[in-house]
């Protein structure tokens, strides 16, 4: 019902604000997997938005072992903990997270090119 409301192009939807806030900080529901270029052909994969209940270090350990790459957990003042992995592991991470049942597939957003 509320979804329908939002589709109607009305001037002002009192609830739109709150909802958009949620999706805007989308980090709350989405797990963002990003890639960043480093020098040369090196790159970096970051995983942001995993639920706080999870032990990041445990996940990181598994990821590192699974993909044979190094990585670390970074504390970001705004976004909380973020996992960093060496290389472009976006596909790997996404399949891993889904298979391990940590995140649902539709809640993963892969960014980058």
């Amino acid at each position: 019902m509320s979804d329908l409301d939002i589709q109607i192009p009305t001037a002002f939807d009192p609830f739109a604000d709150a909802k958009a806030e949620d999706s805007g900080a989308g980090s709350k529901e989405y797990v963002h997997i990003r890639i960043q270029q480093r020098n040369g052909r090196k790159s970096l994969t970051t995983v942001q938005g995993l639920k706080k209940e999870f032990s990041y270090n445990k996940i990181l350990k598994d990821l590192k072992k699974e993909f044979c790459c190094n990585g670390t957990v970074v504390q970001d003042p705004e976004l909380g903990q973020v996992i960093q992995l060496q290389g472009d592991q976006r596909k790997n991470v996404s399949t891993f997270l889904v298979q391990a049942g940590i995140v649902k597939k539709e809640h993963i957003k892969i960014h980058g090119f």
């Binding site: 192009p9 805007g24 270029q37 090119f113």
Partner: protein, 269 residues
């Protein structure tokens, strides 16, 4: 014929052809083009066939015969070389003439063989295109030119036609730029010639992929797939309103998200 040329042109830019939100659609489109090409080819074969050797069943046989024939004649007429050339010329003209004659619009005309599925399909789509182009599936799509990219030094990439593409999408360059940079996970800015200079090395198809996502998220109307939309900011929310069907939706603001510190360790802090 003009129609075919147009198609060909589109074919050339098939790579960028892109901003089709539904893959299914794209697939369909491709097959249409294929069949069209096929039927055109067949048309050509058939006309050749008709002009040279009438009543031959197999088009291939006809083709072969046709190819051989002029050679033979030229060999035969070798002593009078001019005559041979004349013959060839005439044959060529005849072919062209046949192609233009409207009676041979369809490959099966002039024979009593069965229609082939592809041919009929091609015919249907030709008629559709003539009468109701919007139903033929290739309603004037927002064809965007592929991103042109230059390398600046070894560490920067220049997106040359960035402004052009913004204009085709009818979006603020700022908005597009924010999205591009957020997705690429890098920084960049516009230079004096309004080109987008981005830190890092990126291929044109990198930009293309991201632009495609941008179009899906911030340009295309979900209801009618029309790209005639307006992106406006209301109460610090972004709204996408369709000019065609009037539907609207809110779109997520662009968030850069986490950007890892890359580069020299002692740069900051």
């Amino acid at each position: 014929m003009a129609d075919e040329n147009q198609l060909d042109a589109k074919d050339e830019v098939a790579e960028l052809a892109p901003f089709d939100p539904t893959k299914k659609k794209k697939k369909k489109k491709v097959t249409i083009q294929d069949t069209e090409d096929d039927s055109v080819d067949k048309l050509a074969e058939k006309t050749e066939n008709l002009s040279v050797s009438e009543g031959l069943e197999s088009t291939f046989a006809g083709l072969k015969k046709k190819k051989k024939k002029p050679v033979e004649t030229s060999i035969l007429n070798e002593d009078t070389g001019d005559a041979g050339e004349d013959l060839d010329d005439h044959a060529g003209e005849d072919d062209k003439g046949d192609g233009l004659v409207p009676e041979h619009r369809y490959p099966w005309e002039g024979s009593d063989r069965d229609y082939e599925y592809e041919e009929l399909l091609g015919r249907v789509f030709n008629i559709l295109r003539e009468n109701n182009p919007e139903l033929a599936g290739d309603r004037r799509r927002t064809v965007m030119r592929p991103p042109q990219v230059l390398r600046e030094g070894t560490k920067k990439t220049v997106f040359v036609n960035f402004m052009d593409l913004c204009k085709t999408m009818h979006r603020q360059p700022d908005h597009v730029m924010t999205f591009l940079l957020a997705e690429l996970g890098t920084s960049g800015s516009l230079d004096g010639q309004q080109r987008l200079v981005v830190k890092g090395r990126f291929a044109p198809k990198n930009f293309e992929g991201i632009l495609r996502r941008y179009v899906n998220e911030y340009v295309i109307c979900l209801g009618c797939k029309s790209p005639d939309t307006i992106l406006s900011k209301e109460n610090r929310l972004f709204f996408l309103r369709c000019e065609k069907c009037g539907s609207g939706r809110s779109v997520a603001p662009i968030k850069a998200g986490f950007v890892a510190r890359v580069g020299r360790r002692n740069a900051g802090t």
